[in-house]
């Protein structure tokens, strides 16, 4: 590349309800590489953006859950395909902004793609693993099956900005939940690029909403917003955990804290499990008499 061409510096936007709005707050955050050079800007999302995201997620939830599990699986697989297509863009972005260089970035991006493929496959199987028929003592047919919680807030870990986000998001949406995601605060670029994956892979608008912002600014709003059915968070300090659980007590939204350590995100026994999905469903038990 010749030196006299000025690069086009991008300002990444938020991803809400299937479109790319700028933050209503008008604030931006600079993204710098490890050498301190400016790479891009991205939106500094606000409480209002969070609220708009919840509205979009709620609107999309029923029809997302009503799709066939096979269909949701195909859409997750399509996300993996699009992620694979953007593989080098993600590796570049992550290697430029996170420690560990291209090698670590490559490992992370590949693990994220594999994670999506894994959960695409779980879509029409997990309920066979976590649901059951119950042999009750009486003339009743009785079964328990998982149903999506509804709208789930996802607060992704700081490290492994793409893998952490994908590993938390996939088990949430695969069952029919919709999500409002706050990406890594320290390394937000992967979140912004991931929005472009979502936008181009048949995910209905509102199913995945992606925010970039400061964790401590939005945390209490994730906790207290009454239209969340659940909140998942990784890498919380005791103080952050307390904020989340205190706010959640108000409408009894489910709080699911991930205690995975840095290296655990690569342990597929932990992250590729149907029990990750089971954390974000409600179990419904249905009874019907047997006999005429």
């Amino acid at each position: 590349m010749s030196n006299d061409r000025l690069a086009v510096l991008k300002t990444y936007k938020l991803f809400i309800g299937g479109s790319f709005p700028r933050t209503e707050s008008g604030r931006t955050l600079p993204v710098v590489d490890l050498k301190g050079e400016l790479l891009a800007h991205l939106c500094h999302g606000s409480r209002k953006d969070l609220r708009n995201s919840v509205v979009a997620a709620r609107k999309a939830q029923k029809s997302w859950a009503a799709r066939a599990a096979y269909n949701r699986g195909q859409i997750l697989y399509r996300m993996a395909e699009m992620l694979e297509g953007k593989r080098s863009e993600f590796i570049d972005a992550i290697a430029a902004t996170c420690d560990g260089g291209v090698r670590r970035a490559t490992k992370e991006v590949d693990a994220a793609i594999d994670c999506l493929v894994n959960f695409a496959g779980w879509a029409d199987k997990y309920s066979q693993v976590v649901g059951c028929n119950n042999p009750v003592a009486g003339a009743f047919y009785n079964f328990t099956s998982p149903e999506p919680m509804g709208v789930v807030g996802v607060i992704a870990p700081n490290e492994q900005p793409l893998l952490g986000l994908v590993a938390m998001l996939a088990p949430v949406i695969v069952s029919g939940n919709t999500a409002v995601v706050l990406g890594s605060e320290q390394h937000p670029l992967a979140t912004s690029i991931f929005a472009e994956v979502c936008a181009t892979s048949d995910v209905p608008g509102g199913v995945i909403n992606l925010l970039t912002s400061k964790r401590n600014e939005l945390l209490e709003h994730f906790a207290s917003h009454r239209d969340f059915n659940g909140v998942a968070a990784a890498g919380c300090s005791t103080k952050q955990r307390t904020v989340l659980e205190l706010g959640a007590a108000d409408n009894l939204k489910r709080v699911r804290l991930s205690t995975l350590k840095k290296k655990d995100w690569y342990d597929v026994k932990l992250t590729h499990s149907p029990y990750r999905i089971e954390r974000f469903v409600e179990m419904k038990t249905v009874w019907h008499p047997i006999g005429s």
């Binding site: 003592a137 009785n142 328990t144 059915n229 955990r241 009894l252 499990s273 419904k284 249905v286 009874w287």
Partner: protein, 495 residues
């Protein structure tokens, strides 16, 4: 809006007083001590508080016994005993843990009559319910989870769960022994130890269960039972020595406990209130549905968290259903809970009766029409006749708030979509009932109702193998079945 009632009813059989039942009391004598101590570390010990309160028979106002009021120091002793017992209990081969639970189940079955009578005297529920439901189900719960103890690796294949630790458990007064079984059995099966606090008005069967623990040789400290009011419960919830808190009771208290445990790392499960919808479609078998209404709202005097307290009847059968309901209600017998023919027993406490009466008064004030059985009630005790309201609007308190008594709000609807929308229009999500003879409709409605338990063409069925628990503000976690185990296992980062 409800359709106008028909002015002329069909002819009905009227037997006058010719079919009155003779008294049929359960008269087996049982022993009740005059004073009960706390059960800590395998022994009955006097409360350090030196305080006690009366446990009263709500059907007669008689004092049955004095029960100890545990204070913070007593709670501390109980938690320490549970903590001390934990390592050995956890390490015990699982099949041995199972055998203790099997023994408890057996002894409960063998002493079932005594427990049934005590439960009815202490809580006011009809003897036929404690005899045929509460006590046998409690025994079944121990039997069911006994079998899980040495099969935990199959509860969540591919993962290894460990015991959570010391479990604080706080239970309500509506199904005293059964709730104790729901809490204790899965906890012990998973290798946890327990501090259980029964409800203030109904401590006696839990204390008698402690006698069974002694009989079967359950190691000291594995289960500790501390009695007292809300202060005792608060001290237990706040205690730093517990790893898990399990609570069944009101949503208001559940939210407080969620705040108390916030940030502490304590695992929490809550089984809270409800305002469950019972939906009757025109194509239902109406006679069966009417039976279903009765069991949904008048079982256990309506002191049931999953009571079908909102009845939705499709407009075209509204009159027919209500007419049949009224006729059916006339045959309910209310009175002496120890009488084997009694259908409706005593309200658990004067405080609860006051709450119920306040809701009835408010519903009248808000403009709903009150229908009550006319019955002569015993001169002593706490009584509420089966009550239902027509002309109920969705905004009325009676349609939104949990009454926890024999009070039904009746509303009508036109389309399945409307029924679903109105049923789900509640902060609660514990249970629901659906009545129709159309299979496809059943499955569709059941899948769209936001409730943890959906009874189709039946209501208020329970089983140890069947998970129970709510959506939304009815709490979280399940009790019963495989899912009930998960609340008492720690999977580390894997979940």
């Amino acid at each position: 809006m409800s359709p106008r009632p028909k002015t002329k009813s069909k002819p009905q059989l009227d037997f006058g007083n010719a079919w009155e039942y003779s008294p049929a009391p359960e008269s087996t004598p049982i022993e009740i001590a005059s004073k009960y101590k706390l059960f800590i570390n395998g022994k009955f010990v006097a409360a350090k508080s030196r305080q006690s309160f009366d446990s009263i028979n709500p059907a007669t106002d008689e004092v049955l016994a004095k029960v100890s009021q545990a204070n913070a120091a007593d709670v501390d002793d109980a938690v320490n005993a549970a903590r001390k017992a934990l390592p050995a209990w956890k390490k015990l081969p699982a099949r041995e843990r199972a055998k203790y639970l099997f023994r408890i189940a057996r002894r409960l079955q063998e002493r079932a009559r005594e427990f049934s009578i005590l439960e009815t005297m202490d809580g006011g529920k009809p003897i036929k319910e404690s005899r045929d439901f509460d006590i046998p189900e409690a025994a079944k719960h121990f039997f069911y989870y006994a079998g899980w103890a040495d099969k935990l690796e199959y509860a969540s294949p591919g993962q290894v769960g460990k015991a959570v630790g010391v479990c604080g458990q706080i239970i309500p007064w509506n199904f005293p022994l059964l709730m104790a079984a729901w809490k204790i059995a899965p906890a012990l099966a998973c290798g946890n130890t327990v501090v259980l606090k029964p409800a203030e008005t109904t401590s006696l069967t839990a204390l008698r269960l402690a006698e069974i623990f002694q009989e079967v040789g359950l190691p000291d400290g594995v289960v500790n039972i501390i009695t007292g009011d809300g202060r005792t419960g608060a001290a237990l919830a706040e205690h730093k020595g517990i790893n898990k808190l399990a609570f069944t009771g009101s949503t208001a208290v559940g939210k407080q406990l969620a705040k108390v445990t916030a940030g502490t790392g304590k695992k929490l499960s809550l089984e809270l209130g409800g305002k469950s919808a019972n939906i009757i479609f025109a194509d239902a078998s109406i006679d069966q549905a009417v039976e279903g209404i009765i069991s949904a709202i008048y079982f256990n005097q309506g002191h049931v968290c999953c009571a079908g307290s909102r009845l939705f009847v499709q407009e075209s059968v509204y009159e027919e259903v209500l007419e049949k309901l009224e006729i059916r209600l006339r045959s309910l017998r209310i009175g002496d809970p120890l009488d084997k023919n009694t259908d409706i027993g005593a309200v658990n406490s004067p405080e609860q009766l006051k709450t119920i009466n306040a809701y009835i008064a408010q519903a009248k004030k808000e403009g709903a029409k009150c229908h009550q059985l006319k019955r002569k009630l015993p001169s002593k005790g706490n009584w509420c006749v089966p009550t239902w309201f027509s002309g109920v609007q969705p905004a009325h308190a009676i349609a939104r708030e949990e009454v926890f008594g024999p009070v039904l709000a009746v509303m009508s609807f036109r389309t399945p979509e409307e029924a679903i929308q109105r049923a789900n229009n509640s902060a609660y999500g514990l249970a629901a009932g659906v009545w129709t003879d159309k299979g496809g409709k059943i499955l569709e409605i059941a899948s769209k109702l936001e409730a943890g338990v959906v009874w189709c063409n039946t209501y208020n069925q329970f089983d140890a193998a069947s998970p129970f628990g709510g959506y939304k503000e009815s709490g979280f976690g399940r009790e019963g079945g495989r899912q009930g185990l998960l609340e008492y296992l720690d999977f580390g980062g894997a979940r």
